[in-house]
């Protein structure tokens, strides 16, 4: 990846982060270790999933709530919910 910093893009967006109450959770982190290609670390448009040694780390602050991770996870290992009412991404234009 030619060094496109996803943070620069996400910085333009407006988020109301529901502090320490993330709306998405990896059900069983061990499963991710056995996952060969870990597509979530590539397909998430906000780069919320990053690979760390064997594990996958999920930080939901920049989540765009698109649902991709839930659908592409071959082991259905993502517990995916909408954030609490009024929290999460708030599109200024959409």
């Amino acid at each position: 990846m030619s060094g496109i910093k996803i943070e620069e893009k996400l910085f333009q967006n407006r988020y109301l982060v529901d502090a320490d109450n993330p709306h998405i959770r990896i059900k069983d982190p061990a499963l991710c270790g056995q996952c060969s290609n870990q597509p979530c670390t590539i397909c998430c448009p906000a780069g919320c999933y990053t690979r760390e040694e064997q594990k996958v780390v999920l930080i939901t602050d920049g989540c765009l709530e698109c649902g991709t991770c839930r659908i592409i996870c071959s082991r259905q290992n993502v517990e995916w919910e909408y954030p609490r009412g009024g929290y999460g991404i708030q599109f200024k234009f959409g």
Partner: protein
């Protein structure tokens, strides 16, 4: 003043000062003190006030409100050594601890009697509390958290510049046909002037006709901050910060080692706090603390904008990162491309020697 509904004055409104206000002369600085010593912001303001007084050809005065006792005289002497020509001194038992009522009454009394054209206060919890009620009592203009003060040569009025809209913009505020022109300034914004030992000035005492029974609000007690354990990043002068580039929580020890030698506070980027390597109070950046230290050493921090907005106004930023095109190198003052795990210990050692040599020399 609310910016978004106010269109900047199109034509320059000619500020014509009516007769009564022409008499307002001189620049005053409210000297804030707490348990025996003057708050540094008041000294910084005396430095700034000196410049304003000189360009106005007027006198610079310190204003001291305190309980009876020699301490007050000490405050005046210190004010003279930082540039004041004279001090207005008001002493009364009701002024022992800061309370809004007596201090507002006292300062308003002095202003109405000796009529300054400019009154500066530190933007501390005390200064802002006092400035708000004094400005309302005097029905005059007040600009808060100024980052720049200068005199408009055309009409001798004060031009106060301050950040607005969350700091992304600056605006210049003018006080129209009202005196005194009041402004507050945050600590560590203006430069600390040189102390001139032995400089003296005259003191003008003025009584405050008030007794304790006039005042409703009582101070039951004062609980000093115990600063030892709570991290004080926003007030730290040197910060050593670590990011995910350090790889493992164990490597963070190298950050603590350097910080101990420098007597610095330890900070970190959001990912390391999220990963649990560091407590939330030490997070620097958009959703953490904003810091303005003199020296900020960042190791293994990429410098994404979310971190940058929290520390870019540090005086000197040193960045250590193994990625040559890490964004932090776009705004740091000095950069070292390399492995933080080897450079940090070297830095710790080099700083230890530097401090040793300074000790001998000092």
């Amino acid at each position: 003043m609310s910016e978004e509904t106010q269109a900047p004055a199109k034509k320059k409104r000619k500020i014509v000062l009516d007769e009564r206000l022409q008499a307002y002369k001189g620049v005053w600085v409210f000297v804030e003190h707490e348990r025996g010593h003057i708050h540094p912001v008041s000294l910084e303001l005396l430095g700034e006030g000196r410049k304003l007084a000189d360009s106005l050809g007027a006198e610079l005065a310190g204003v001291v409100l305190s309980a009876p006792g020699d301490e007050a005289k000490e405050y005046c002497n210190t004010a003279f050594e930082y540039g004041a020509d004279l001090c207005y001194l008001m002493q009364n038992e009701v002024l022992r601890d800061y309370r809004n009522d007596p201090f507002t009454r006292g300062l308003t009394e002095l202003v109405n009697t000796y009529q300054p054209e400019i009154l500066l206060l530190g933007a501390t919890t005390q200064g802002r509390d006092l400035a708000g009620s004094v400005a309302t009592t005097l029905k005059t203009g007040l600009t808060a958290d100024c980052t720049g003060l200068e005199i408009d040569p055309e009409n001798r009025s004060l031009l106060s510049t301050r950040p607005t809209f969350g700091g992304s913009l600056l605006c210049t505020i003018v006080t129209l046909n009202y005196r005194p022109q009041m402004a507050t300034v945050r600590p560590r914004v203006m430069a600390m002037p040189e102390q001139q030992p032995g400089r003296s000035g005259r003191i003008i005492e003025h009584p405050l006709a008030m007794v304790e029974t006039d005042i409703v609000t009582k101070v039951l007690e004062f609980i000093a901050d115990d600063t030892r354990d709570k991290p004080q990043l926003p007030f730290a002068d040197i910060i050593v910060a670590g990011g995910r580039g350090l790889g493992k929580p164990e490597n963070f020890q190298l950050i603590w080692d350097l910080a101990r030698v420098l007597g610095a506070e330890v900070g970190g980027s959001r990912p390391v706090v999220q990963a649990g390597w560091l407590e939330l109070d030490r997070q620097v950046g958009q959703s953490g603390k904003t810091v303005r230290p003199k020296l900020y050493i960042a190791a293994g921090i990429s410098g994404a904008i979310q971190h940058r907005v929290g520390m870019e106004s540090a005086d000197c930023i040193i960045a250590i990162n193994n990625d040559p095109n890490a964004p932090i190198f776009d705004f740091a003052h000095y950069g070292i491309v390399g492995d933080a795990m080897t450079i940090l210990p070297a830095l710790t050692e080099a700083f230890r020697q530097k401090l040793a040599t300074l000790k001998q020399a000092g």
